[in-house]
Amino acid sequence: MAIDSGDTAFILICTAMVMLMTPGVGLFYGGMVRRKNLISMIALAFIAFAVVTLQWVVAGYSLAFGPDIGGFIGGLDYIGLAGVGMDGEGIPDLLFMAFQLVFAGLTLAIMTSGVAERIKLSSFIIFGILWTTLVYDPLAHWAWGGGWAASLGALDFAGGTVVHISSGFGALALALVIGKRAGFGQYSMEPHNIPMTLLGGALLWFGWFGFNAGSALAANGLAASAFVVTNIAAAAGAIAWMGASWINGKPSSLGMISGAIAGLVAITPAAGFVNPLAAIIIGLVAGLLCYGALLFRVRKGLDESLDAWAIHGMGGLWGALATGIFAVAAVGGVDGLIAGNPGQFVIQAIDAIVALAYAFGVTFVLAKIVDALFGLRVTEEEEYVGLDIAQHGESLSA
């Protein structure tokens, strides 16, 4: 169980890169809201990261990665990081813990899409602690901590189920509970700073290499393969969404970067199991599917405001299934549907559907509870003047 300096160097940097994704989400979302809520949107990402950091070292890591209890949750053996030390298998246990921490932090940041421009900050902090404890930690345990999904053989390389299905469908439930923004559907709420969204997208694309390649937990051929398919799926998703939006009008840059994120999401569970050509297909389908999901959401008048559901939820769902379709044993040791193993596809479908239902259901209940006790939403007047002033007492160039 020696520490490998190369692997350790790699995962240390990957952890930092994934950390950068959280402010990346803040910038990505911040550019898409109205000017009066920009600071709030970026701040929410930081707050999510800070809250989860503490939750994770106190109890979260143990719930997710502690000794298995009934396939559902981890025990409290590692509470307060007890027994998580400088030794480990290839990389220090502490580093593994930190690498998992930045995933959990990012996941909560993605959820802020569902409550953009109307969440009460204090309620968000409470909701965030509850959500990470009762939704993220169990899901991480199922897939990666030795829970039932892992025993079943469900594959999730870097978090298609744990991160993206959970945050995407969670955001949908949250949006249903908190309700639409005032004026939604009556007048347009145009993104006010697209370059900022593009910058956030750049940081996400960059950090995603740490997210997916780092999930190999070693600097080896598998990491290189994950890196390559990640980039390919992002590029394919960007081109697909841009092309689809081109047919309906202009090839928007927002569509292009959204497509890249959709491709990145979809390749996440599959990154350690598929080859580059499958990544092109996964990315193209993700770009088109998520674009369709977004149009569906808008048509239904659902105010899941910044499309975590359409992009992360649906992209993650597609990626989980695609892993079952395109996996080849030569890459990750498991064959999928095309390579003659339809059983894997069925396992992926079961895992994805259970995770989806659990995330949606529990998020809905948690949001209802917080809403009943504290109120999730700011007052009408606070919403009108914007959360920057109402929640933070700050504003841009005031």
Partner: protein, 110 residues
Amino acid sequence: MKKVEAIIRPEKLEQVKKALAEKGLFAMTVTEVRGRGAQKGICLQFRGKKIEVDLIPKVKIEMVVPDAAVDTIIEIVRAEARTGKNGDGKIFVWTIEMVAGVRTDEIMTE
């Protein structure tokens, strides 16, 4: 000629523009401004402390039109931009003595 200056809620701009265009009132200049009205901004309660938010983002529409069109503009802006709450805005009317084109040498005076 008169200049009509309307300060309205930013989110009402598209509606107002559209309604004005339907009456053939097309030419306008739009500026993003911040302002406060007689009701002294919006007062938020924040843990017992009061925060007063004045200088709220607004949009200013300026249109120079023949005197006869002023009433129509006021009517349309009121119909489209009104929510009934404080902060719907104000409309001012100015006298314009002369209009000069830049592209052409046209000059219009009273």
